[in-house]
């Protein structure tokens, strides 16, 4: 090959790449920033401009994505079977925590960021309920072991990754109120897992009967 052809070929490739970034602009004149085209560009078959204009644009996270954990609770239901909304917080009122304070998550946690206080009965006997539950989210390494090994499906990994704050000593120590999220939220972010868990639960109940 003649000397210099490799260099010219390289320049051809970069020029093609530059040109390709504008193809989308011309093809979808003025409509480039819509969700459908955005996902098309980001898919395995996408081409052209690849950057994401965060925070204006955000990539949707897959269902298995894991960030700091949350606790799942069953909401309190009214007479019609609808969840009661707590007027103070605007969230669904807590009916029952799924967590039984068995401590498996805190034992399996590699950086030891889960702290659990088990509730006691007035007589001083341990009760299968958390009195308090802390997660130090700065220590949490998002490994997902707690959710993986929880036998009661009560701790799950969240999808919310924008948790920056100005200090870490108060707002980054999540207590049981900050961690608790209703079953409806779990069903929303993990639809496949939710369907599987519900099917398993129903099968178990049917077996009991």
């Amino acid at each position: 090959m003649a000397y210099g052809l490799g260099l010219l070929n390289g320049l051809r490739i970069t020029a093609t790449r530059v040109f390709k970034t504008y193809v989308g602009d011309f093809k979808h004149l003025g409509r480039r920033y819509n969700d459908k085209l955005f996902m098309e560009r980001q898919s395995v078959k996408g081409s052209g401009i690849f950057t994401v204009q965060y925070p204006e644009e955000k990539l949707p996270v897959p269902e298995n994505f894991r960030f700091v954990p949350f606790l799942v609770y069953e909401p309190a239901l009214d007479a019609d079977g609808k969840p009661i909304i707590d007027p103070k917080t605007g969230k669904e009122a807590v009916g029952k925590q799924r967590c039984t304070a068995c401590g498996i998550c805190s034992k399996v946690c590699p950086p030891q960021c889960i702290w659990i206080v088990r509730a006691t009965t007035p007589e001083g006997k341990p009760k299968p309920q958390p009195a308090d539950f802390y997660i130090d989210i700065d220590v949490c390494m998002n490994c997902g072991y707690c959710a993986e090994f929880c036998p009661f499906d009560s701790i799950k990994m969240d999808h919310d990754y924008e948790l920056a704050n100005y200090e870490r000593h108060v707002s980054h120590i999540y207590d049981i109120n900050a961690l608790s999220k209703p079953t409806a939220y779990h069903a929303k972010v993990h639809p496949t897992d939710w369907a599987r868990e519900e099917a398993e639960r129903k099968a178990k109940e049917a077996k009991k009967k």
């Binding site: 000397y3 805190s106 034992k107 590699p110």
Partner: protein, 586 residues
């Protein structure tokens, strides 16, 4: 210091992969050198170690020192060496030597294996074992004013809570406490006795420096200067400091100064449970989390005697090879970045890397900190969507990109003019310095752990080991491109053959039972041979957990690769080793 080449041919009739046979051979040459022999290795007398190592190296052709590590047995110290003959392959030979508890000293192996240089310094730094005859025995990962040797069993770190995880304070009555509140910062630094931190000057800062008065008085006309390159420099690939001695623009010596990202991975690993170490291995070489997981999990599985189901094996190989492709693609981009082609080739390489990371995220849950492998399987099954996307990538997009990348990177005349005959590492030195991975293969050594000691299911796939000829920068570049092609070849076969079925042997368990024993396990990472030396005492936490970090050991050869070239070349040579500070400093 020159390098000794073994005189013996590696082909012998006797099976030198068996420690018993090797011990017999040693006994013939050195009658009173061997203390005991077992399947765990050969224990050699302390004062005879250098003779035995010379004999093994020169006459039995054990030319490659894989790993040097040490174990604190409370009553004594033990230094463990793993040796291989690259031509023969197979499992490494374990050589052990005992040292007394008080003032432990072991002869240094640097005269025979120069790859022992940094590794012995690390053992000295973290375990406090002195190596007699080492040319430069100083701390390497910690700073000179550090009190104590943290890997000793009696050492306690500043935020010490308990010997082993899980900590008792977490459950039942787990009222949250911030570690810093329990142990305020001013109590956090310990100095050795009679140490004045303010007046302290590290000894190395005085070498080679010559004051102006001295130079004028002696009428010395010198251009030799010492340049501190990094730790905050975009071309050092992280917080690496290089003390470069320069004569004009020519490099006369390079000394990597490490430890800015040191967190003592080994000690954390000993406090952790076996399972708890898997996410920590992600953070070693954060470009290749999947491959790190694989090497660690394979090591512990060997000890446990568990075998994952077929489907899990295939998923593991697919993940590891995707990791290799994306690591090499971005490494090549970074080399171009170091050459001055500012970010364009790197961004091109990152595009496909993003797509591969998307696949990891959808399966494992995280893009880089995958934490995907478990003992006896993988965390969760891959979906059909994953296989479909992966097939498209492997059959269409990645080969196209590899070709394109070769067209604009390797065939570029500006690049070849710049990269050929730069940073030459001859074959003998590459072996003697214990370099691994593409650096070793570029020097013409056909050695790949996937072939030499096949792990997982790599023996089923048809692939080649690309090698270079000269061992220069260009070869290291081309070998990586060729390895990307071989990875795609393996991926194609794996995706065709992947069976359906379970992805986990037995039930998922968080309390792992690992029988007593010790093992050195390894895997061929994109950066080189990643090894784990694990000693189990039957408890849920490893007694000793050591990582053989390929980037760290490859840095040993940096000085010899750079001397004589221009400083601008040094940056590219460093880039061509492809280091990640998370793994170098651990």
């Amino acid at each position: 210091m020159s390098v000794i080449v073994p005189t013996a041919s590696p082909e012998t009739k006797i099976n030198l992969n068996d420690p018993q046979v090797v011990a017999e051979q040693i006994k013939m040459a050195q009658p009173d050198a061997v203390e005991s022999v077992s399947a765990q290795g050969i224990v050699v007398k302390n004062d005879k170690l250098l003779d035995v190592a010379r004999y093994l190296h020169d006459l039995l052709a054990f030319d490659y020192l894989n790993n040097v590590t040490s174990v604190d047995w409370q009553d004594r110290f033990e230094v463990v060496y793993n040796l291989t003959c690259l031509a023969r392959g197979g499992a490494p030979l374990t050589l052990k030597v005992n040292a007394a508890r008080e003032n432990p000293t072991v002869p240094s192996l640097v005269p025979v294996y120069r790859g022992a240089d940094f590794q012995e310094r690390e053992v000295y730094d973290l375990m406090g074992i002195r190596f007699a005859g080492h040319p430069n025995l100083r701390r390497i990962l910690l700073w000179d004013g550090f009190a104590g040797h943290p890997l000793r069993k009696d050492y306690r770190e500043p935020y010490y809570e308990e010997e082993k995880k899980p900590f008792g304070s977490r459950w039942d009555q787990g009222h949250h406490v911030i570690a810093e509140d329990r142990n305020p910062w001013h109590d956090n630094v310990q100095y050795p006795a009679n140490f004045d931190a303010i007046a302290y000057k590290p000894p190395r800062d005085q070498i080679q420096a010559i004051s102006i008065e001295e130079a004028t008085a002696a009428r010395i006309h010198t251009d030799k200067i010492v340049l501190n390159f990094g730790p905050q420099h975009p071309s050092t690939h992280g917080v690496l400091r290089l003390r470069v001695t320069l004569e004009g623009e020519i490099v006369r010596g390079v000394e990597p100064i490490l430890g800015y990202l040191h967190r003592n991975h080994d000690k954390i690993g000993e406090r952790n449970t076996y399972l708890g170490n898997v996410p920590y291995t992600d953070r070693l070489d954060y470009f290749t989390a999947m491959a790190n997981n694989l090497a660690y999990v394979l090591t512990v599985e060997k000890l446990m005697g568990v075998k994952p189901p077929e489907r899990a094996e295939y998923i593991r190989v697919i993940m590891a090879e995707l990791t290799r492709w994306q690591n090499h693609a971005s490494a090549l981009g970074f080399i171009y970045n170091d050459l001055g082609a500012f970010y364009t080739p790197l961004i091109y390489a990152l595009e496909e890397r993003e797509l591969i990371l998307d696949l990891f995220e959808a399966t494992a849950g995280s893009r880089m900190m995958c934490n995907y492998m478990r003992f006896g399987g993988v965390a969760r099954d891959v979906t059909d969507d994953f296989i479909e996307k992966c097939k498209y990538l492997v059959n269409e997009r990645l080969p196209r990109r590899t070709d394109e990348l070769e067209a604009y990177m390797v065939k570029n005349e500006l690049f070849t003019a710049r990269a050929k005959n730069i940073g030459i590492l001859p074959r003998d030195k590459a072996i003697n310095f214990s370099t691994a991975g593409p650096v070793l293969r570029a020097s013409g050594v056909k050695y790949d752990v996937r072939r030499a000691e096949p792990y997982s299911i790599y023996d089923r796939f048809d692939f080649e080991i690309p090698t270079g000829t000269v061992g220069d920068l260009y070869d290291r570049f081309v070998v990586r491109v060729a390895e990307m092609r071989q990875s795609l070849k393996i991926l194609k076969q794996a995706l065709e053959q992947i069976p359906s079925g379970d992805t986990m042997t037995g039930k998922k368990n968080y309390q792992i039972r690992v029988p007593k024993g010790e093992i050195y396990g390894r895997g061929e990472n994109p950066k080189g041979e990643l090894g784990f030396y694990i000693v189990s005492d039957g408890t849920p936490n490893p007694y000793r957990y050591n990582v053989r970090a390929p980037s760290f050991i490859n840095l040993t050869a940096l000085n010899d690769m750079c001397v004589g070239y221009k400083i601008a070349d040094m940056i590219v040579i460093l880039g061509s080793i492809d280091i990640v500070m998370g793994e170098v400093d651990r």
